[in-house]
Every structure is written in C-alpha cells, then in structure tokens.
C-alpha cells in the first residue's frame, strides 16, 4: 500500500480528505503510482501530468523521503519507505507568487 498526499485544490476536486492510499504492484514508480491515482480519481487526469505528453506539469513537484523526485525518471523505483507505506509520496504545488 502506497500513501500519497496531494494539494488542497486537488483534494477538493477529487472529493477526498487526508492521504490517499493506493495498491501498486512492485516495483512502485512515479508512473505506476500516478497511473493508479488517476485510475482511482479520474478527475485528476491532466492536473498533475499533461494529458497529451504525460509529463509533469511545470508547477507540480514530487517529494519522497525529503528528496526532490520531480526530475527523476518516472520509471525509477521509488524508495523502499515510500513503496512500503512508511512514508507518503508528496505531490506538491510549487510555491509561486508573493
């Protein structure tokens, strides 16, 4: 079981509160987690990854175990603590504006 935290506005869109729990086959990657997230909450399609290119939207960041995974390969296996549910994967809206 993988735990994912998404930004406030996406929680409102997906009508969820708190963390989202997903069952993802091993080895879990950013791509497989986001595929599972979008399958469970299809209203999030396009809000994290571009629907055409599949790339991360520019102002979205992925943090895992206090490391920035935003520019890692989407097929790189996530850290063991994320894959095992000990730590959540953070989907973060980048700080912008003043």
């Amino acid at each position: 079981m993988i735990r994912v935290v998404i930004p406030y506005h996406l929680k409102m869109l997906a009508k969820v509160s708190g963390e989202i729990e997903l069952d993802v086959a091993s080895p879990a990657t950013l791509r497989s987690v986001l595929d599972a997230l979008e399958a469970k909450h299809p209203m999030l399609c396009g809000t994290i990854r571009d629907q055409t290119t599949g790339k991360r939207r520019p102002m979205i960041r992925f943090f895992a175990c206090e490391e920035d995974w935003s520019n890692e390969s989407p097929d790189k296996p996530l850290p063991e603590k994320i894959a095992g549910g000990a730590e959540p994967l953070l989907v973060v809206g980048a700080i912008a504006g003043g």
Binding site: P7, Y8, H9, L10, M12, L13, E38, A39, K40, H41, P42, M43, L44, C45, G46, T47, I48, D50, Q51, T52, R57, M59, I60, G93, A94, A96
Partner: protein, 395 residues
C-alpha cells in the same frame, strides 16, 4: 415574472447573482470552485439550467465543469455525479478536460507553429479555455475558444472535445503571435440567422469567419490598422479585444480593438473606425443593446500602458448611432479615484425591457443597470477580480 441569473467568473472562483425582473434586489451565491480561476461560465439559451464553466489553474491545468440545475450542483461531464469514475476495465473517464490539437491525417492540418515573442516559431501548446459558447439550438453542443488559439467543439455536453482544426490550419497560423495576455481565442459569435456562420477573434491574430460550421475559415481584418505591428495593415496580427453583434442584424459587427473601436457592415469583410469622440479608444469589452441594434456600449481605458479609466472616472460610453457619437454613462459609477479595469468577457446585456447592462471589474465590483445604462448599482463590491460576466433570463 422573469428571473435573472448573472454568472460571474473571477480569479478565485465563480459566483451566481440572482434577482427577479426588477433587478433591484440580488442574492449572491458562491464561491463555486473556490480558489480556482474561472475564466468563463455561460448557460445554454435553449436550456438555462445547463451551464458550462471553465475552471483553470496555473498549477493544475484545465477542468471543464457542467451544471444541469442552474448552478446548484456541478460535475465534470466525463464523470457524472454518483456514477463510477472508471470504466469496468478501470480506465479513467476524465476526457472532458482533454483538449488535444487535431493533427490527424484526416484533418490535413499538422500542428504547425506560430510566431513567438522572440520572432522564432513556436509549437502550439494548450493552456486554458478562455470562452465557452453554447450552441443556439442544442444544449449538448458547445464551442470552446482556447489558448494557444484554437476552437474546439463538444457535441456530447462537454464530455469530449474535438478541434475545428481548419481555423488553426488554414494558412495564416504561423503569423499569429501571443499578446501580453497570451494567444487566446476569446470571442465566438454564432450568426443567429445562419448557424453555420460564425465569427471568432484572437489576440493577437485578428478576426476570422467560417461559413460552413467551422470547417473552413478566412481572416476578416481588412480595414484594421495597428501601428504596433510591422505592417499596420497586415492580413493578420491585429490585437482584437472583443467583437459583438445584434441578433437582428448579424452582418453588422462591432469591435473593440487594442486601440480603435471599429465597425463592419458586411460581415467583417471591411472595417471602419467609429471611435469618434470617445475620450480614449483603448479598451476591452464591447456590447450591443438587446433591442436597439445601433446602440453600443464600451468602457474606455486610458491606454495600453495604463489599464484604468481616464481621470480615475469609471464611465460606460454609449453610442445610439452605431458609433462615432458617444455619451458617458456615469450615474451610480465612481467618478473619482477609480483605477479598476473591465476585461473583455466581463460585460453583457439581458433582453428584458428596459434592457439590462452588466459589467464586472478587476476590483471585484459587479455593476448592473436596469435602464439601458442610464443608471448603475453595484450588485456586489468585493469579489475577487472579475474575469467574465454573463446573464441568463428564465421564467
């Protein structure tokens, strides 16, 4: 008695303002989609309970929302409320947010490129929906004007969108260039007498017309003169801010250009200036009175560098002669220290008698006139910056 619903899109959500036909007492409902930019909401003429909304965020992209009960509840058309959000195979349904430029072989229009700020060519990239225009006859058909400029159509109530690629691909696309606000298709007018004929306007490309429901398009910018582009009389490249027509006379078009208020009497084939005695002919919106085809409203703004009313006085100017002769409408509007802007989609008229006129400001006020612009009242004063205002009437 008729009831009135004013649909307001703002930088931080949507609001619905409701009144009876007297238009004196208003109830304010909102924010819907709190915290999101709502570029535009518009209801169907044939089914006023059907409302489409463009919800957008620089972070999270484009969401299309639909209401089937006059704005009480909303859903994404691809995922109706209460229904499973995936197919039996687990495949996401959320097609309603998907705007993909049509580069299929059958369209014959490759993605191409457009002119970028630095003079190079740049590929089309979808950013947001600026304007939603429901069909005049079918509540399930709706057009979307988007940035980067293109026109999409949905015939299934917003569940899926398909580009009318003949506009982007007709030939002049590589010469289109974004203005400071982006390269958006912001105006869509459907000829009430011939629904196959439509007019659109794009910043900064100009006006275009189709005669066959959106398959083929041609630029209609002859007579526009824009000193801020290399060839002031170019076929495309003009920063048209808004176009408007009266339903009884669709060959007559009015335009608020970056500078200049313009008019065409032949469906856009030729334009001539009708700025006349306006204090400044820079501005964004333009509207035509519901019952008087020669009565036109604009909101003059100081200049392209100073996006606020001249002398800090908020004035709607009205021409009752189809342009050139303008009179300021000031009663009820602030006449000192007013430095708001009125954006291109933030004015509208109702068709009651007398005609109601509405506009919203970047300062969060929504003003209404129930007497054709003679006098004004603020329905609300402290909303987020207003992006769009539309009005609906129903029994």
């Amino acid at each position: 008695m008729s009831r009135i619903r004013v649909l307001v899109g703002t930088r931080k959500g949507a609001f619905i303002l409701a009144s009876d036909g007297k238009r004196q007492q208003w109830a304010v409902d909102g924010p819907h989609f709190a915290g999101w930019e709502i570029y535009h909401l518009k209801g169907s003429l044939v089914d006023p309970n059907r409302i489409y909304a463009s919800q957008n965020s620089s972070w999270f992209g484009q969401i299309i929302q639909r209401s089937d009960d006059g704005g009480k509840t909303w859903h994404q058309p691809g995922t109706p409320a209460g229904e499973p959000t995936t197919t039996p195979e687990g495949f996401p349904k959320a097609e309603s947010n998907k705007f993909v430029y049509d580069t299929s072989a059958s369209s014959g229009h490759t993605l191409t490129t457009h002119l970028w700020y630095d003079g190079t060519q740049h590929p089309w990239e979808f950013k947001r929906v600026w304007h939603l225009e429901p069909s005049l006859t079918d509540p399930n058909t709706v057009y979307a004007g988007v940035e980067d400029a293109a026109m999409f159509r949905s015939t299934d109530g917003g569940q899926s969108w398909h580009e009318l690629s003949g506009l982007r691909g007709h030939g002049t696309g590589p010469k289109w260039q974004p203005g400071a606000g982006g390269m958006g298709l912001h105006s869509i007018l459907i000829d009430p007498k011939n629904h196959q004929r439509m007019f659109v306007a794009i910043s900064a490309a100009g006006c275009f017309r189709t005669e066959d429901g959106g398959k083929n398009w041609k630029p209609i910018n002859r007579g526009l003169r824009s000193p801020y582009i290399p060839d002031p009389d170019a076929e495309v490249g003009h920063c048209v801010h808004r176009i408007a027509l009266h339903a009884s006379r669709p060959d007559v078009l009015f335009m608020q250009k970056h500078w200049d208020v313009m008019r065409s009497d032949d469906g856009g084939d030729n334009w001539y200036e009708v700025s006349g005695d306006l204090p400044t002919d820079f501005g964004f919106p333009i509207e035509v009175h519901a019952h008087e085809p020669d009565t036109v409203f604009v909101v003059p703004i100081t200049s392209d560098s100073l996006h606020y009313p001249p002398e800090g006085k908020l004035r709607v100017y009205r021409s009752r002669s189809g342009g050139n002769d303008w009179e300021p409408m000031t009663r009820g509007l602030p006449q000192e220290n007013c430095y708001v802007n009125v954006l291109r989609d933030a004015t509208c008229v109702d068709s009651l008698d007398p005609c109601g006129v509405y506009f919203g400001t970047t300062g969060g006020q929504v003003y209404a006139s129930a007497d054709g612009g003679e006098s004004w009242n603020a329905i609300v004063r402290d909303l987020p910056a207003v992006l769009s205002v539309e009005v609906q009437e129903f029994e």
